[in-house]
């Protein structure tokens, strides 16, 4: 049995302390120290970034490349290596000693090119590993799911490669930011070259990956090509990760179409484009014209995977390692020395996102998410490989020039697979944010 022994003096002391605490409490609640209580606050602990990318599945190759770039970004933020884009990014507050004086650590996850696995991985990073920021994706399905989770948890999400209009459209979130371009911008950028190369009297057949990215790309490219005067003969959805597209390609031959538009990415495109070429589509004549294939969004890794089939194919890209600006040169040099190959656009966007988040914390002087968000919103920067770039506050979409690329007919090395044949100015790919629905949501962070 326990006896409670409370003397008169001790009772008075305790009561005095209680009264003092009650009187002081409103001050505490309004102080910055309370405001700093947020999910995975690294004030007294580690600064952990969560790199959540597909390492298996249809988009694994792009994901693994992105992961390598994230690891390089952490090295540069912590002051290791040659500094990469820290030497070119302007304005820049990072000092090469970590973020706010703390060295950055990281955890990684495999999203398996699967929305549920991506969400589970991000949850694990936030709840178990203490990630202050989550970044990475190669599918828009993953990006949208993780972005939504991060809003719930009050953790900032710097999206990786995601091209669906929905990411910064109807599914945008206050805690989500996208550096990569989107399907609407691809449509605007590619249309003039399509008109110039293939004319304005064309009949297009779309094969579209059946998920959010495919749907919005199909919608944007249809809108852009129909505005040119093209007719859309059919738009057929194909399951993600299909492999054998023969049953979808044979109907194209007799559809009356003279252009096949492949709204596929990653392994899907690496399979569908060569198979379309194997079926002899590019040797055909239809409606008195040469049959053409267009891949509205593609990357160097896909071009390497698709091999010979990619020669002459027109598409758009967010970035290319052979650009001549100082940011691109610095990043390509760092990445090439580290990994023996040039970086992909997937690697580039991941690297830039990690640097931008770290720099925003440094500028805000805190890891407190609402302040970091405000530091990113409306931020104008240069030296990251895409020319002057704006992180628009209205939808957290980056605005910069968009590249139009074409499969290289005469490559001089195994990396020399794409040529940049056009650049669409930032002003031309800037659109009114209200064309897409959605609300960003509140700044106030949730406790995870």
């Amino acid at each position: 049995m326990t006896k409670l022994i409370l003397g008169r003096r001790r009772l008075l002391k305790t009561m005095g302390a209680g009264v003092a605490a009650s009187l002081a409490s409103p001050l505490v609640f309004t102080s910055r120290s309370y405001g700093q209580e947020f999910c995975n606050n690294p004030a007294n602990g580690r600064v952990v970034f969560g790199f959540n990318v597909p390492q298996t599945g249809s988009y694994a190759e792009e994901g693994l490349d992105q992961l390598k770039a994230y690891e390089l970004a952490v090295k540069h933020i912590n002051g290791e290596g040659d500094g990469g884009m820290l030497n070119t990014l302007k304005p820049l507050s990072l000092k090469g000693n970590g973020v706010l004086g703390k060295k950055v650590e990281f955890v990684t996850g495999d999203t398996q090119t699967n929305t549920d696995a991506a969400r589970d991985g991000a949850r694990r990073m936030i709840e178990r590993d203490g990630a202050i920021m989550v970044t990475g994706s190669v599918t828009s399905g993953e990006a949208i799911a993780v972005q939504s989770l991060c809003q719930e948890k009050g953790v900032i999400y710097m999206a990786g490669l995601t091209h669906s209009n929905d990411t910064t459209g109807k599914d945008k979130r206050r805690y989500g930011f996208r550096h990569f371009f989107n399907a609407h911008q691809s449509g605007v950028a590619i249309a003039p070259l399509l008109a110039q190369e293939y004319g304005t009297d064309r009949r297009a057949y779309h094969l579209t990956a059946d998920y959010t990215w495919g749907w919005t790309q199909e919608e944007s490219i249809k809108a852009a090509t129909e505005a040119l005067g093209w007719e859309t003969v059919a738009a057929v959805r194909t399951p993600l990760g299909l492999g054998d597209y023969s049953q979808y390609l044979t109907p194209v031959m007799n559809s009356g179409a003279d252009v096949l538009i492949l709204n596929h990415y990653g392994h899907d495109m690496v399979n569908s484009l060569p198979q379309a070429v194997q079926f002899g589509l590019r040797d055909r004549q239809a409606n008195g014209k040469n049959f053409e294939i267009v891949v509205p969004m593609f990357s160097e890794l896909m071009a390497v995977g698709a091999g010979e089939a990619v020669k002459g194919i027109i598409g758009t890209s967010n970035w290319h390692w052979a650009l001549e600006d100082e940011g691109t040169k610095a990043f390509t040099k760092s990445y090439g020395e580290a990994y023996g190959s040039p970086p992909s656009q997937s690697a580039h966007t991941g690297y830039v996102q990690a640097l931008l988040y770290a720099d925003a914390c440094e500028r805000a002087g805190t890891f407190y998410p609402p302040e970091v968000i405000k530091a990113l919103e409306g931020f104008e920067f240069d030296g990251a490989g895409n020319g002057p770039t704006l992180y628009r506050d209205a939808d957290h979409q980056c605005f910069k020039e968009v590249l139009v690329v074409r499969g290289n007919e005469n490559p001089t090395s195994k990396f020399d697979v794409l040529n940049v044949v056009g650049r669409t100015a930032r002003a031309d790919v800037t659109y009114d944010p209200t064309i897409f629905e959605g609300e960003l949501g509140p700044y106030e962070p949730n406790q995870c």
Binding site: T250, N254, F279, R284, Y335, G340, P342
Partner: protein, 342 residues
């Protein structure tokens, strides 16, 4: 008409793959009475025989060329396959034709794997229930998948079509149409003829050889054949090896059409079981006929006109047919009376 012919060719080509896998599955069920859920893994192992063979052929020597610099300022590495160093142009041809040549390697490897699998594991489950056979073979499939994953990684490994066999054959010209009206990829046509040749070979082997006659007799009445002093068990072991070879070569030749990863067998396993059920458990001709039939049906279900009437039908047509067959004729199209009935 062109659309119809193109879809028919596509269906035959798909059907060839389905028929080859289902044929091996039926051989094992018909002779040993074993429901082999590891059969898809045998197809996968065949795929990776082709991959491994190409890996061997493309072991490279690496030399640094200081006169050429990469975009990041390092000397360029020049990589040359060893076989090309040793045999010159012939070595380059070997690398180019690695997939068809790998079939020659696949046959003995798969025969050895099949025999080892039957002697080491399957024979201990002959008298167990089908549920137990399914559990043990499914477990074996997972073990095989994980072994392959540990060697070759989790992602698909593309295999190239030989340069001369890329592109499409102008079938339309043969039928009196204008050029390029009906084209079909050469490799898919080759795969179709390859599958027909393998199927023909297996049937001929069972029909016209003494070994085949004994196996067929054993399938009909194992006890009586045993009483005649014939070691039917040994022959059935070889049949299991034969089934593994059929699945393996089907996989090796399929790699240029679909880059294999360690899960490719599972994707085909479900389909091939449906094919076997539709064709009739234990019926070799049923398996082949159902393979081609379902391939063609799946292909026609993908036509725009059909999908506009029944959206999504291409994804479910095979399973719909299986459901109807199970309801109307449980023994399958060409199954023996009494099997799977009652």
């Amino acid at each position: 008409m062109n659309a119809f012919l193109a879809q028919l060719l596509n269906g035959l080509d798909k059907g060839g793959a389905y028929a080859l896998i289902a044929l091996g599955l039926t051989l094992v069920f018909g002779t040993l009475g074993v429901v082999n859920f590891a059969h898809g893994a045998l197809f996968m192992l065949g795929c990776f025989c082709a991959v491994a063979f190409r890996y061997l052929l493309t072991i490279e020597t690496v030399t640094v060329d200081p006169t050429q610099l990469s975009p990041w300022g390092q000397p360029v590495e020049v990589r040359t396959p060893l076989v090309q160093n040793w045999f010159g142009d012939f070595g380059a041809v070997l690398v180019d034709y690695s997939v068809p040549i790998s079939v020659l390697l696949t046959v003995p490897v798969m025969l050895a794997i099949g025999i080892a699998m039957e002697r080491g594991l399957i024979k201990h489950f002959y008298k167990r229930t089908h549920a137990e056979q399914i559990l043990v073979t499914f477990g074996l499939a997972i073990v095989l998948q994980e072994i392959v994953k540990s060697f070759f990684g989790p992602n698909p490994v593309p295999q190239p079509i030989p340069t001369d066999l890329r592109g499409a054959a102008d079938i339309g010209l043969l039928l009196g149409m204008e050029a390029h009206q009906l084209t079909y990829p050469w490799w898919r046509l080759i795969y179709l003829f390859f599958s027909l040749a393998v199927i023909g070979g297996v049937f001929a082997f069972l029909q016209f050889t003494t070994f085949g006659m004994v196996v067929r007799a054993g399938m009909a009445d194992r006890e009586t054949v045993g009483l005649l002093g014939i070691d039917i068990g040994r022959r059935f072991t070889i049949v299991f090896g034969l089934a593994a070879v059929v699945a393996g070569v089907a996989g090796a030749m399929y790699t240029p059409l679909l880059a294999p990863n360690y899960l490719i067998g599972m994707d085909f396993l479900v389909l091939s079981f449906v094919v076997v059920v539709v064709g009739g458990m234990g019926s070799l001709t049923g398996a082949v006929a159902a393979g081609f039939l379902l391939g063609i049906l799946q292909s026609f279900a993908s036509m725009t006109e059909v999908k506009s009437l029944f959206p999504g039908i291409d994804q479910v047509i095979i399973y719909l047919v299986a459901v109807v067959i199970l309801l109307v004729r449980p023994r399958g199209l060409l199954g023996r009376r009494g099997v799977m009935e009652g």
